[in-house]
């Protein structure tokens, strides 16, 4: 039989338990994947186009939608690009609060990825645990921002709310809980012989390929490339904080999961430093603070909740171009805004980590086994709605 006769074309998704919103066109020969073409589908199409007709502040919730588990990164990157155009720098306290939320978000985004990965290789326990342990972090973020997932917390010039009362203690409690919890994960999931057998040596991405394909985030670092935007081009409060860039050498599915686990520990470290070092002061740029009517300003100073000055509704951004990048949970998020001085951007371009990481999928599954498809898919922490913008 010729190879073409032996091949079976299997359409995995979009109505498949493991495919998310994506469609995978797999050609398999027996149990070996000959070719796998990911089709990213249509979920949040036209975010970039919609941004051209929305006002600058309205775009914040819009760009958050696609990356549902990791909204702070998009929020922050967009606002940083706008701030570059406006030529303002948020006050230090706001920088620290941004970092705090970004790290809380990074942890629960990693838990999300690990949970989905767990259920993809058949461990419903890992799934339940990860999603359960994600909850305290979401609660923290909720208390800080008022929303569970799409926070819209970061606004041009600062953040929307100050730290709630007694927040430090709650954070410390959650961090201690997480630290006590991690050994359980190792006992039942990461050090499980079946997990190891399923993940080790599966979907190996070499250092050279990782660089060549433009992979970002934990997937890149799992192949031994110590690239992290937080270090390469520091933003928010990161230059003043002490943390390491996590790398693993193997580049296989297990290394990718391990990078996430170790990054969670690193994030805990960062959050503790943030709470220790956070300076006092305003949380919104002085220029905008002044625009709040005096009677409201008093209330803002008392409660720590910003009442937006009128200028925000029709925020005009000077003409020009700006690019901002941040390190999200899944990788590098880039926003490029071209402004012509009107109330909406002339053009907005977002580069999401999942879109860059999905290229890997085709690359890694060549010659893998059918059962490796979900194992690799999960280890990439790929989030279909994010790829499609």
């Amino acid at each position: 039989m010729s190879l073409e006769e032996r091949e079976l074309e299997v359409l995995i998704g979009p109505q498949h338990p493991a495919s998310g919103h994506m469609r995978l066109v797999a050609k398999i020969d027996g149990d070996i994947v000959v070719e796998l073409r990911p089709n990213i589908g249509y979920v949040h199409r036209s975010v970039e186009k919609l941004a051209e007709v929305k006002k600058y502040l309205q775009i914040i919730p819009l760009v958050e939608r696609p990356s549902l588990a990791d909204t702070t990164a998009n929020n922050l990157a967009y606002v940083m690009a706008v701030e570059k155009l406006l030529g303002i720098e948020p006050p230090p306290r706001a920088q620290y609060l941004r970092t705090l939320l970004a790290e809380i978000n990074r942890i629960h985004s990693h838990f999300y990825g690990m949970g989905i990965h767990g259920v993809m290789i058949g461990s419903s326990t890992a799934y339940m645990w990860c999603f359960g342990d994600r909850e305290p972090l979401i609660e923290l973020a909720q208390e800080l921002t008022g929303a569970r997932l799409t926070y819209s917390y970061i606004v041009p010039g600062g953040v929307r709310r100050d730290l709630p009362q007694g927040f430090e203690d709650k954070v410390e409690k959650v961090m201690r809980y997480l630290e006590n919890r991690m050994p359980d994960y190792f006992d039942i999931y990461f050090n499980n012989p079946v997990t190891r057998a399923r993940l080790e040596g599966v979907g190996v991405l070499t250092k050279e390929d990782a660089i060549k394909l433009g992979v970002t985030g934990p997937n890149l670092r799992a192949s031994g490339v110590p690239y992290d935007v937080r270090k390469a081009e520091p933003y928010a409060a990161y230059p003043e904080l002490d943390f390491d860039v996590i790398t693993e050498e193997d580049g296989d599915a297990f290394a990718r999961v391990m990078v996430r686990v170790r990054e969670i520990q690193e994030s805990i470290k960062i959050i503790r430093q943030v709470l220790k070092k956070i300076p006092d002061g305003p949380i919104l740029d002085e220029k905008y603070m002044k625009m709040i009517p005096p009677n409201l300003r008093k209330q803002v100073e008392e409660t720590g909740h910003i009442k937006f000055p009128g200028v925000f509704a029709n925020l005009r951004v000077p003409a020009g171009e700006a690019v901002a990048r941040v390190e999200g949970g899944r990788g590098e998020v880039v926003f490029h805004i071209i402004s012509d001085g009107k109330m909406s951007p002339y053009r907005m371009r977002m580069v999401t980590p999942s879109f860059r990481n999905v290229i890997l999928f085709e690359h890694l599954t060549k010659g893998a086994r059918v059962a490796d498809i979900p194992a690799i898919y999960g280890s990439l922490d790929y989030f279909p709605p994010e790829a499609d913008r």
């Binding site: 079976l8 074309e9 767990g118 290789i121 058949g122 326990t125 079946v194 399923r198 059918v370």
Partner: protein, 335 residues
């Protein structure tokens, strides 16, 4: 009434229909799936089934599920091979429960006693996978086909070592008669005489009934539900129940081979038809519960890894277990 009772307690009727037959198998189905969900929930820090019969923690959840399956419309796709598609679930379930006819309940209570009852049970228990393969083919769906083929692969890799480890016990006791084997364990149980055989048989038992980590033929995240993808309604209820019934049957066999069957039973109870059966059932139930617990602990193996385990680890181990039996016979001076 008296006549009716005596008919029911006639071993020819009682063993296939009540214990260990179809009635207990159904009751067990109701309990074990609930228990599996409860155990997994315990590990996963959640409640599991809760609302059906609340005081007992949702204990009859499966009755509700069964009713739902019963009244759900069984959708039969146009392109399937209709006869094979509809017949196989019933045949699969039947074949899974069929071996119970040769399983004795006590030294004196059995449907029929044969010199070869162990062989009969093992042979009948290997009928079921054929229907899974047929099911995968008849569904006319690529995922089903892959699932069916996987079942075929798995069968060849568990069957031979499982037979060898069961037979090593037969060698040890010099008999293929389940009654004799159980009776021979009055003193020391088979698991202590030949632990290697016990471990291989236990692992392969879970492999043959698609328990985690061997839930490969119906791997949800890879091939949807494998051979069962196209099934719905009561047809799906039957195919899903079949693997649990098979596990029940194999657990009974495992209990008789390695856990002393109904032993230790006090002498005055030996002629009672029910009590030895209860003891047998409790032991088998523990084996099933261990299988249910595995769900919470293990992810799923890949097909090639499971086959590796079958051929490269379990087969040599089962051959070693035969040698262990032979050596023990030599030491003990012949059976």
């Amino acid at each position: 009434m008296q006549d009716l009772l005596s008919v029911i307690f006639e071993p020819y009727v009682f063993v296939p229909l009540i214990f260990p037959g179809i009635t207990v198998a159904f009751l067990l189905l109701l309990v074990i799936i609930w228990l599996e969900r409860k155990i997994a929930a315990k590990v996963q820090l959640r409640y599991g089934p809760l609302y059906v019969l609340k005081p007992l923690g949702g204990a009859i959840q499966m009755v509700a599920d069964l009713l739902r399956y019963l009244f759900q419309e069984p959708i039969i796709p146009k392109t399937v091979d209709k006869l094979a598609f509809i017949m196989t679930p019933a045949l699969l379930f039947g074949a899974a429960y069929l071996p119970t006819i040769a399983i004795p309940v006590s030294p004196t209570f059995y449907a029929f006693r044969s010199d070869l009852s162990l062989l009969i049970v093992l042979a009948l228990s290997t009928l079921a996978p054929i229907f899974t393969v047929v099911m995968g083919w008849a569904s006319n769906n690529k995922f089903s086909l892959i699932g069916g083929v996987r079942e075929g692969y798995i069968v060849v890799s568990y069957e031979i070592p499982m037979f060898l480890s069961a037979l090593s016990i037969a060698i040890l006791y010099g008999s293929l008669d389940l009654v004799e084997i159980a009776e021979a364990q009055k003193g020391i149980w088979g698991i202590f005489l030949n632990p290697v055989a016990a471990i291989t048989m236990l692992v392969l038992m879970y492999m043959s009934t698609s328990k985690f980590p061997f839930e490969i033929p119906e791997a949800e995240s890879e091939i949807v539900a494998g051979a069962y993808t196209e099934y719905s309604g009561i047809l799906y209820g039957l195919v899903m129940g079949a693997s649990y019934v098979k596990l029940y049957v194999l657990s009974l066999v495992f209990t008789i081979l390695f856990l002393g069957g109904w032993n230790p039973i006090p002498g005055f109870m030996a002629n009672d038809p029910l009590l030895p059966g209860v003891l047998l059932f409790i032991k088998a139930f523990i084996i099933i519960v261990i299988g249910a617990f595995l769900r919470a602990v293990y992810p799923r193996f890949r097909i090639d890894q499971a086959m590796d385990l079958g051929w490269k680890t379990m087969l040599p181990l089962s051959i070693i277990s035969i040698f262990i039996s032979l050596v023990e016979i030599m030491i003990m001076g012949g059976a």
